[in-house]
């Protein structure tokens, strides 16, 4: 259970660890899946072509021209969040542990209302292309942008590796392609979407995928419920008969309160510090659309988690102990009733059980599309940090010309894509379960505190943000390395130096205390000016007067 939880931490890596980390058997070519996937690729490349013609300026490239509606953006945000890992991973957790899967998914959802109440509108009013725009609004550009860009790139790379490795293994399993071929395919398609179509193509790919995934999951949930005359009691009773009654109550997913709270903080604040999510708030026209985005996103994501819960139980009753999906070879060694490809395949097998080969192909293609869409969003966020924060604001000190900046971001996209392919191949057989957890920890401990305090605390100074943010980042990284996920599981030591799997409670506290301390002790001339500038910033933050892209006539 513990390894499963580690594997699942922060959704990104579910299938990268546990079930798919061992030997993955290449499956026979799955023709219906491949045909449906080709249709998806064809359609999205068409969208990319359409988007490319509309992507002329840096603003178009980073924010789709700021013309995405709240509903569309809500769908795209939900798409960013509903990765293949959260679909397969959470349904697998429900399949294996029942109620614990529900607990886990709830942690991912509750960050959204907080984002809405605290930062969504403010972000839209203050920012332009990246969250560093907001963090450095009244502070010194060079140090703050550099730190924010570093936090963004670290988050993006860690997340990308996890997604690429997961993608390679999943595709190998679903489509029968070689691991390397799969990784290269994902990398190349992602580079095409992002370089040519920018944010507009990335957003629409995400919207289409979110629609397909929600439709597919809805169909599966309804098919399962129809079997039991839409009576939950009958479904649960059958599931309990097949497993045991522990699946109906908490089963040790969160055992001690410190871990429970720390995980909650990582999920909540981490979500509010993920660069590819924050960037989505700049694609809408104003604060009103920004807040509508979160409303719709929360609805879609919550609905999706309820579906995965039903799907997980559906898999217990229709896949578990079904000889068709039984891994006979594994059963001979380990006993029990293991399913082909491991628990993470539970939802995939269920799609076959309720809809046959055709629907299996559809869900497989959707899973692939999901990976593509998520890596595209990540890469765009990483490229923006390089081109907008590092190149235009730091190296060229804000004097970069827009076209040149866009060129740099396209080059960065290609470079990031190639790096992702290489890292994806290099990490194929490594234990990468800690990576998304670390990404969330960094987002929660470096990106979020700086962003939050820059908007809400007038006494924040450059020195405070720089020292406190770095402290948060380092604490998160060091505690993850000394903790059970890396120290024991990766480095093979017997016992962890830091006992908790999730460092967020400690690293987020370190960041906030650090920022507070180094800000209030900062008596420089600069800091006085920065504090004075808060008032003007706050007016724009609260009302949107003078905001980028705001409609003011």
């Amino acid at each position: 259970m513990k390894t499963l939880l580690l594997t699942l931490l922060a959704a990104g890596v579910a299938f990268a660890g546990e079930a798919l980390s061992g030997e993955v058997e290449k499956q026979a070519l799955n023709m219906s899946a491949i045909i449906m996937f080709l249709i998806f690729v064809g359609a999205t490349l068409g969208i990319t072509y359409w988007a490319a013609k509309r992507t002329k300026t840096a603003k178009d490239f980073y924010t789709a021209g700021g013309g995405i509606t709240g509903f569309q953006n809500g769908m795209a945000i939900a798409g960013d969040y509903m990765s293949a890992a959260s679909f397969l991973g959470i349904s697998a957790l429900v399949y294996a542990k029942g109620y614990d899967g529900l607990i886990y998914s709830i942690g991912f959802l509750v960050g959204w209302p907080i984002i809405l109440f605290m930062i969504a509108e403010q972000l839209r009013n203050l920012g332009k292309y990246t969250f560093a725009d907001v963090a450095s609004y009244r502070l010194q550009q060079t140090p703050i942008r550099t730190l924010a860009a570093f936090g963004s790139i670290a988050t993006v790379i860690l997340y990308l590796i996890a997604q690429m490795v997961g993608a390679g293994k999943l595709i190998q399993l679903l489509f029968g392609l070689d691991y390397e071929v799969a990784v290269i395919l994902v990398g190349v398609l992602m580079i095409l979407y992002v370089t040519f179509g920018g944010m507009l193509a990335t957003t629409w790919v995400q919207i289409i995928k979110a629609f397909l995934l929600l439709s597919g999951a809805t169909f599966m949930a309804i098919a399962v419920m129809a079997h039991y005359n839409f009576n939950f009691e009958t479904l649960f009773a059958t599931a309990v008969e097949m497993k045991d009654s522990t699946i109906m109550a908490p089963g040790g997913l969160v055992s001690d309160p410190i871990s429970a709270i720390s995980l909650g903080i990582a999920l909540m604040f981490g979500t509010a510090g993920l660069p590819h999510i924050l960037m989505r708030f700049f694609t809408v026209s104003d604060a009103k659309e920004a807040r509508k985005s979160v409303f719709y996103a929360t609805g879609f994501i919550g609905y999706f988690y309820i579906l995965t819960f039903i799907i997980g139980f559906g898999a217990i009753v229709m896949v578990f102990q079904n000889p068709q999906y039984l891994d006979v070879a594994k059963q001979a060694i380990d006993g029990g009733a293991p399913i082909l490809g491991g628990d993470n395949m539970a939802a995939i097998h269920l799609s076959h059980a309720v809809g046959g080969d055709f629907f299996l192909g559809f869900i497989s293609a959707v899973a692939f599309a999901t990976i593509l869409a998520v890596v595209s969003g990540l890469t765009l966020a990483g490229a923006s940090a390089i081109s907008h924060d590092l190149y235009a604001s730091v190296i060229r000190a804000g004097r970069a010309d827009g076209l040149m900046e866009m060129k740099v971001s396209k080059i960065s996209t290609v470079v990031l894509g190639i790096v992702a392919i290489f890292l994806g191949i290099a990490f194929e057989s490594q234990n990468i379960a800690f990576m998304v957890g670390l990404a969330f920890a960094i987002a929660a401990s470096a990106n979020f505190p700086i962003l939050f305090l820059s908007m809400f605390w007038s006494k924040l100074t450059t020195r405070g943000a720089l020292f406190g943010g770095s402290l948060g980042l380092l604490t998160a990284a060091v505690l993850v390395i000394l903790g059970p996920t890396v120290w024991v599981d990766v480095l093979g030591n017997a016992e962890a130096i830091f006992p908790y799997k999730y460092p967020a409670l400690f690293s987020v506290t370190a960041a906030f205390v650090g920022i507070w301390f180094f800000s209030i002790t900062d008596k420089s001339e600069n800091s006085r000016k920065e504090i004075e500038a808060f008032e003007a910033q706050n007016i724009r933050c609260q009302t949107g007067i003078g905001a980028e892209g705001a409609v003011e006539h």
């Binding site: 998914s105 509750v110 959204w112 209302p113 109440f117 605290m118 109906m248 109550a249 997913l253 009103k288």
Partner: protein, 104 residues
Amino acid sequence: MKQELVNVIKNDPDYIRLISERSRFAWILTIVMLVIYFGFVLVIAFDPEFLGTPLFANSVTTIGIPIGVGVIISAFVLTGIYVRRANTEFDDLTAKIKAKAKGE
């Protein structure tokens, strides 16, 4: 933004009202969400058996199911409550502040 405009807006009673009302409302909703979520987490940590209580006599369905789903729905409902008030009251106030700022 010019300093004169900053001074005008920051003393505008509508602006003061917007800031205090909205931040109060946002904090209340945030605290409600935190209490619901961490309350749920603490029940899991300290009294997991409670969530395993049957929902009604002899039912397999436990009380944890509607509670868990309820937490998900509460997140959505809270965002709805915020958006509803922000779309009307707060946006009206903002529009008034903007109109006055333009007149200066």
